[in-house]
Symmetry: C2
C-alpha cells in the first residue's frame, strides 16, 4: 500500500513538475540581472526530481498512519502552491506575484515538515532539503526582484 | 480542528483558483468555435467557488478520521492537476495538453470521491458536483478541440 501512496504523491509532484517543462526560463529570464550565487540552469530539474522523490516518500511514510490528516492536508497545500509558482513567475513573468507564492509555499512546507516530523522523524527529515531549496528559491526570487527594478514583472 | 483542515484545504483551492484569475480566457478563447451548450463566462467563477467550498468541506470531514490516507493523497493529486489545467489551456493555449490534464483530473476526482465515500458518505457526496463539472469541462475541452482543427493549440 505504501507504493500506491508513493505513486499517487509522485503523480501530484509530476503535475507540479510539468509546469517547469511548459514554462521554460527563456530569453526573459536570461536577460535579468541575477546574483552571483544563482544556481546553474541544469541544477533546477535535477534538484526538483530529487525533491519530488523525497516529498513523495515522506507522504507515503505517513499516509497509512492514524492521525496523519494535518500532515497530508498541508502536503496538499504545498503541492498546489508549488504547481502555481512556475506559471506565475515564468508564465506571467510576474516577479512580485512569484514572491507572494513562494512565501506562502515556504510557510506550507515548514508547517508540513513539522507535522510530518511528529508522526515519523524520517518523513520530516525528507522534507528538510525541500525547505532548504524553497528558501534558496525565495532568496533568488527576492534578489532578482531587487536587481531588476525596471522590469515589467515588478507590476 | 475541522475548521483548521477546512482552512488549509481552502487555501489549496485558492492556489488553484488563482490560475483562473491570472490566465483569463481573453481574445483567443472568444475567437474559438464553441458548442451551443457552452456555459456562459460568468458561470465559471461561480461554479468554481462553490466547488472549492464543497471540496474543502469534504477534505475537512475526513482529515480527522483514521484511515483517511488514501482519500487525502488523492485529494492532493486532484488539486495539483486542477492547478495545472488553466496554465496549460489558457496560458499555453494548448487544447490537447488541456485534454490530457483534464482526463487525469477526472480519474483523480472519481478515485478521490470513492475513497471519501468509504469514510463518510457526505464527504463523497460533496465531490459529486465537482465530478459532474469536470465531466462537463472535459466535454467542452474535447468539443473545442474538434471544432477548431486549424488552431495552433492542437499542437
Amino acid at each position: 500500500m505504501t507504493w500506491v501512496y508513493f505513486a499517487i504523491f509522485f503523480c501530484a509532484c509530476a503535475s507540479a513538475g510539468a509546469t517547469g517543462a511548459m514554462f521554460q526560463p527563456g530569453e526573459w529570464y536570461r536577460s535579468l540581472n541575477k546574483p552571483s550565487w544563482t544556481p546553474p540552469d541544469w541544477l533546477f530539474p535535477v534538484a526538483w526530481t530529487t525533491l519530488y522523490i523525497c516529498m513523495s516518500a515522506a507522504g507515503a511514510r505517513v499516509a497509512g498512519l492514524d492521525g496523519s490528516g494535518l500532515a497530508l492536508s498541508l502536503w496538499a497545500l504545498q503541492i498546489a502552491l508549488n504547481t502555481l509558482w512556475t506559471p506565475v513567475f515564468f508564465g506571467k513573468q510576474n516577479m512580485r506575484g512569484g514572491m507572494v507564492v513562494l512565501s506562502a509555499l515556504w510557510i506550507a512546507v515548514a508547517a508540513c515538515m513539522v507535522a510530518l516530523w511528529q508522526l515519523d522523524w524520517l518523513a520530516g527529515l525528507l522534507f528538510l532539503p525541500y525547505l532548504a531549496w524553497v528558501t534558496t528559491a525565495g532568496a533568488l526570487n527576492w534578489s532578482v526582484l531587487q536587481l531588476n527594478p525596471a522590469q515589467p514583472g515588478q507590476a
